[in-house]
Amino acid sequence: MQYKEQKIRICSNLPLHRQSGVPGKVCGALRIANQIKGCVPILHSPVGCAFQRKINTFAPYEITYNLPCTNLTEVDTVYGGHEKLVEKVLEVNKKYHPELILIISTCAPDLIGEDYDITLDEVRDMIDAKIIYDTGNAKRAPVGMQSALYSLATQVMEEQDKIKKSLNICKLSYHRTDSVDEFVDILEEMGAHVNGVYFNNNTVEDIKNIPRAELNLVDFPADWVLYAEKKFGTKYLVPPRLKIEDSLTTLNGFAKYLYAIAGALDLDTDVIEKRKKEADEKLEKYRKKLKGKKIASGFSVHGGAMQTLIEDVGMECPVLILKTRRMNLMMKDDAVKHISNSMTRFIENHQGYAPEVLINPTTEEEIKAMKEHGIELCVGGMENNMFEYLRNGIKLFDMRRMMQISKMGFNNSVNIARETYKIVSKEPKSHLLLGNIEYSMRNPSLSNYWADIVDIFQTCWHCDCKD
């Protein structure tokens, strides 16, 4: 796609995922289908689902142009859409010559209990493509993605002979899979065989071959991961998601993760310290300029920049700005408290004194505290009024930017330090046109208009989530 990086960047501020809406399972399944070369998804749905799902809420800059659907009508919701599905499968097979057809079920066929096994049995011998289905039944979010992955595991992956010391790198939510070059390089130098990087432009053959690996490196033990372990004997390893001190963004955190991989596959560990040292040397350039400078930070659990800036670069964080509104929607108070305590402990351990913790402050209170502590950079974004900061001479390292610069490897720290230096060394732009919009007190990164929309959505969506 032309200008993809730029499109991602300008769309990254749309207040989507769990703010003003949730993409829905079809979007998730389509995200997976679109990552597989030669895969054509079919929506078993009324026409509206296909019409609007051409734009994927997970990636609004991408349009799925070929999105055939079965065009279910009222009659079909009574008698079932079996015939239409068969007809569409044959049509898609003839028109697109796909390697894989993924039937994605939607609300209507889910509720009437469409029997996909019968359909698949009927058409399997009539088409060249491999055909599978997905009903979107995963237990955890993102449901559509997890369910599609489970469908791939149960219907595409095949029993294979294991390759010794081999592993799969499966998408880690805070690192884009197209940014794993350094990770692959290190693992190979450690003696691992990287069987594949998933799910990122894979072929159907690549998917079939996932079980060749001895180890899956995953974000969390999703259903498909557990299935792959049980059925194919591929073990899995997850990074420490909620341990602030082991964040993969720091040199030590990433090294610890590599040691865990090495332990699981009996790999050479010498390269870990060597690579860590190389990155540390690169960091020195930024350390000289940034060490001792003061930052304020918002919540930073995994994949955040705060840990790197404090631990690797030597910056200080005298102010911790904790906004609990969003977290409280999904987490119990104890969990939120645990995270904030861990953050405070982490900062205190590194800089020798505890930060001042502001719980749900107003923008004025934040700025006042930052000024008192001589802070010129805040690491946050989702809950901060960037324009009020800039007007008061405080810069912001927006964590949405992290998603774009993140890479899996020791050099991630270097990237974070470089980006921080870039922000710190420039004068804040305090006359931005966007600064003239009135921002919400309750949700300061959004205008009042959007803050109301978010409030309405979150009230309804989370109304029974803590039951």
């Binding site: 949730v22 509206g48 109304c463």
Partner: protein, 402 residues
């Protein structure tokens, strides 16, 4: 067959969303909501008036009418809209959620107009959802005093590409012609829509004919169905149609004509090159007016016209059959095959036709719904006298800058 348009819910949302001080609530899982959100918000980050009750998986077993009630109350409390519509979608429709009762319950606490609309996508296509949504507004209409020489515009969709600019241009033209626009359905306040029966004439741009028929029956307001006014001739034709029912002052037209000709002179050599160029036009009702403009005023040959279905489509097809080689009605597959097989040199359509244009390596000029990969902030309408040079500019630039 795979239609070129969305489902009933999408059509209805497009109609209700044009009530500028109204709010829609989808009683559905989040997918329907975020889907329509993308269609709207990618074009305009400042206008999003659709909430979702947010049915979870378990709600599809036990029902979640209470969530719909909560959403209505929350929307009212936060936004205070003058009109609320609660709409079911596929899942709540199959489940048989009783939203009529929920709306009645809400009415006990909320002193605003609230209605229930059955929006389940499997019921019908978008055009039908749009028409029935418009029709549902008649219950709120009140006929008071007829405003002389006034019209309502029916069939406007505010999320059409450059719709707001087009409305401004149509408003300007009507103003110059001495015709008052009483109400726009739908791109108006709820009060203005309630006052729609005060107009002398309903002017229907294709969709919304059911509303026009009902208003004729109930309020005795005649209606006229017109093409969307593209180009010089198209806009004149629009004024002529009005003139059969209200008084149109044509005096200003000569100046407009001169202005267009002057613009045409600036690109006369490029324009000659368009004569006989084979094109395809894809869209809804507006595609007819657009195809006529391209053919009659620019000189393109229209090889293929792909249109989504609407009421009275057959009579429109009869009108246009002399200038179009192939007509494909609401079938994406057939349309793709035609465009790929035929010798088409330029494509006019929506963002969804981009891949086809890329595969054929031909320019795509966006004019029809949905346009999600181009925004419009400047006052550059496609409709009316002012629209003609802008369309020409877009076509030439698209080719020369490639």
């Amino acid at each position: 067959m795979e239609p070129l348009q969305g489902c009933r819910m999408i059509g209805a949302i497009r109609a209700f969303n044009g009530i500028l001080d109204g709010y829609s609530i989808l009683h559905s899982p989040p997918g329907c909501h975020s889907g329509v959100m993308m269609l709207e918000v990618l074009q305009d980050n400042s206008d999003w008036r659709i909430a979702v009750s947010g049915m979870h998986q378990r709600d599809l077993v036990y029902g979640a009418e209470n969530k719909c009630l909560l959403a209505i109350k929350k929307v009212y409390e936060t936004i205070k809209p003058n009109f609320i519509v609660a709409m079911d979608c596929c899942s709540s429709g199959i489940l048989g959620e009783d939203l009529e009762s929920i709306v009645n319950l809400a009415k006990d606490e909320i002193d605003k107009d609230i209605i229930y609309f059955s929006g389940a996508g499997y019921h019908s296509l978008a055009y039908s959802g749009y028409d029935e949504a418009l029709k549902s507004l008649v219950q709120f209409m009140e006929q008071k005093e007829t405003i002389p020489n006034s019209i309502n515009l029916i069939g406007i969709k505010i999320d059409d590409f450059k719709a707001k600019e087009d409305i401004e241009e149509i408003r300007r033209i009507c103003c110059n012609a001495g015709v008052n626009i009483n109400s726009i359905l739908t791109c108006d306040t709820f009060d203005a829509i309630k006052n729609a029966p005060n107009a002398e004439l309903n002017v229907v741009f294709g969709d919304g004919i059911k509303l026009a028929e009902l208003m004729k029956k109930k309020f005795d307001i005649p209606y006229v169905v017109v093409d969307y006014p593209y180009g010089l001739n198209g806009t004149l034709e629009f004024l002529n149609s009005l003139n059969e029912h209200v008084n149109v002052d044509f005096e200003f037209v000569e100046e407009e004509k001169k202005r267009i000709i002057k613009t045409v002179e600036k690109v006369q050599f490029y324009l000659k090159g368009f004569y006989g160029m084979s094109s395809a036009v894809v869209g809804d009702y507006k595609a007819f007016g657009f195809a006529k403009f391209l053919s009659d005023e620019i000189g393109f040959d229209i090889d293929t016209l792909g249109v989504s279905k609407f009421y009275n489509i057959n009579s429109k097809i009869k009108e246009i059959k002399d200038i179009v080689e192939n007509i494909v009605i609401d079938d994406r597959k057939e349309l793709e095959d035609k465009i790929m097989e035929n010798n088409i040199e330029i494509l006019f359509g929506s963002s969804y036709e981009k891949k086809m244009a890329q595969n054929k390596n031909i320019p795509l000029i966006r004019f029809s719904y949905p346009v999600v990969d181009e925004i419009s902030l400047s006052n550059t309408p496609l409709a009316g006298f002012r629209g003609a040079p802008i369309i020409i500019e877009r076509i030439i630039n698209e080719i020369t800058k490639a």
